[in-house]
């Protein structure tokens, strides 16, 4: 036997602890399986919980895949401040693709892939374009008419560069003969 208080606590805890929404059947077959309870009784508990949380910061809602607690909708704008910069870093693949486009522009995805030896994901190309660093400046007149990518003015502005030519100056030359060529540079 389980008291009403315990039953409510258990259902409440189970929904809060679950990583996904929980259905009534999952509750009955999971945390409540050791007690002989029927659906109407658990349904009633869920109704009570919904009522308990009506005026609170989180609320019990029923979505397509079950019950879950979620923050009050009207608190959304204030809660946004909790995650100021939850931004992942860009991958080496993305930066190399960007560097290659800057260096070899205008260039196609196929040409980038030929040099990097691996395929360039659509996601990377989309990210670079969404960021406004790369854009399509034309199409190469070969079968398939692949897009020609180039860097943008925003790209130069972001990295405080006058021109793409300013970029490799920061790279330490690994071979002495490349250094000599620098002087002839346009």
């Amino acid at each position: 036997m389980i008291s009403d208080t315990q039953l409510k606590q258990l259902v409440e805890a189970a929904i809060f602890a679950a990583e996904e929404p929980v259905t009534l059947d999952q509750l009955l077959g999971g945390v409540l399986s050791q007690f002989s309870l029927n659906k109407p009784r658990v349904r009633q508990v869920l109704d009570q919980l919904q009522e308990d949380y009506r005026e609170r910061g989180v609320q019990l809602v029923e979505v397509a895949s079950g019950f879950r607690f979620q923050t009050r909708a009207d608190l959304g704008p204030a809660l946004v401040h909790m995650w100021p910069e939850r931004t992942p870093k860009y991958s080496a693949a993305l930066l190399e693709t960007l560097a290659l486009i800057a260096w070899q522009q205008p260039t196609t995805r196929g040409e980038i892939e030929a040099i990097r030896g691996v395929s360039v994901s659509t996601q990377i190309m989309r990210t670079l374009q969404e960021r406004g660093w790369v854009k399509v400046v034309g199409h190469k007149e070969v079968p398939g008419r692949p897009a020609l990518f180039a860097t943008t003015k925003e790209f130069l502005d972001y990295f405080s560069l006058q021109s793409v030519a300013d970029l490799p100056a920061l790279v330490e030359p690994t071979e002495p003969d490349t250094r000599e060529r620098d002087t002839n540079e346009v």
Partner: protein
């Protein structure tokens, strides 16, 4: 027999070790145990100190009174049995066996009467270590008794619509990072002989992009307008090289209606579409 039984009862009240976090109360009292049980037991002991402590407890002995002879004998029997059964025995068990054997031999050796006063108990070091270990074992036990996440409690979370409202700041990238990426790419290109790209080409290639972009805005542009005199001689040269390169790569077409008339530049695509 009855005292043995009492001992066994007492044993069961103390968890003598943990198997994957579960306290182990029962351990076989005699040494003649099936290999599977021994293997399980070996897993239950966290090391030779644990086994030694178990043997001492089983004898209802005080650590301070370490009965070295019977303990050594029993320990050796365990170790021998483990070896006979070819259980994978950690070298640490053998190190302990050697230590016990050494203490035993030192205790058995007759001591010269003069030295008796100064010579420390050969068991002292082992006793000290056993005591220190016992404290750690107790610590592990107490830690295990603490409320543990995912065993005693679960973090409670609520979903939120705030994530969708959040404007994701794109990750920052430094020029240094980009330069490093470029350096890696240059290494790749160097490794591929057929890509003979010189650094001079850089600003030319950038200019190629700019010209292509310009041409995407108008179907055709006056050749002269592609140059910006304010850039000086160097800039004009770059633009000229870029136009030549674009032409060579078949990306643009340069047309002239008649000799000495205006040169027009258009993208290859437009040129094709317009049938030029």
């Amino acid at each position: 027999m009855s005292s043995d039984f009492a001992l066994q009862q007492e044993q069961q009240s103390l968890p003598l070790g943990f198997v994957r976090g579960e306290p182990v109360f029962e351990r076989p009292d005699d040494l003649y145990i099936p290999p599977e049980a021994l293997e399980l037991m070996l897993e239950a002991f966290s090391g030779p100190m644990d086994l030694l402590l178990y043997l001492i407890r089983r004898q209802k002995m005080d650590i301070l009174d370490l009965p070295i002879l019977p303990i050594t004998k029993q320990y050796m029997e365990y170790v021998e049995l483990m070896r006979e059964l070819k259980l994978e025995l950690a070298a640490d068990y053998l190190v302990m066996a050697a230590m016990l054997a050494e203490i035993k031999s030192r205790l058995l050796l007759p001591k010269p009467p003069s030295a008796e006063e100064e010579e420390a108990d050969p068991r002292a070091e082992l006793i000290r270590r056993l005591q220190a270990y016992e404290v750690v074992r107790e610590g592990a036990h107490q830690l295990d008794q603490q409320p543990q996440q995912e065993r005693d409690f679960f973090p409670a979370h609520a979903d939120t619509n705030a994530h969708e409202l959040a404007v994701q700041e794109p990750p920052p990238v430094s020029v240094a990072e980009l330069s490093l990426a470029l350096a890696r790419v240059m290494q790749l290109v160097k490794a591929q002989r057929h890509h003979q790209v010189k650094r001079e080409a850089l600003s030319t290639r950038e200019r190629m992009s700019q010209i292509l972009e310009r041409l995407s805005e108008a179907p055709q542009v006056d050749f002269v307008q592609l140059f910006n005199v304010t850039e000086g001689k160097a800039g004009v040269v770059v633009s000229f090289l870029a136009i030549l390169e674009l032409n060579k790569e078949g990306l643009i077409r340069i047309v002239q209606a008649e000799a000495y008339s205006v040169l027009y530049v258009s993208r290859q695509a437009e040129a094709v579409e317009q049938g030029i």
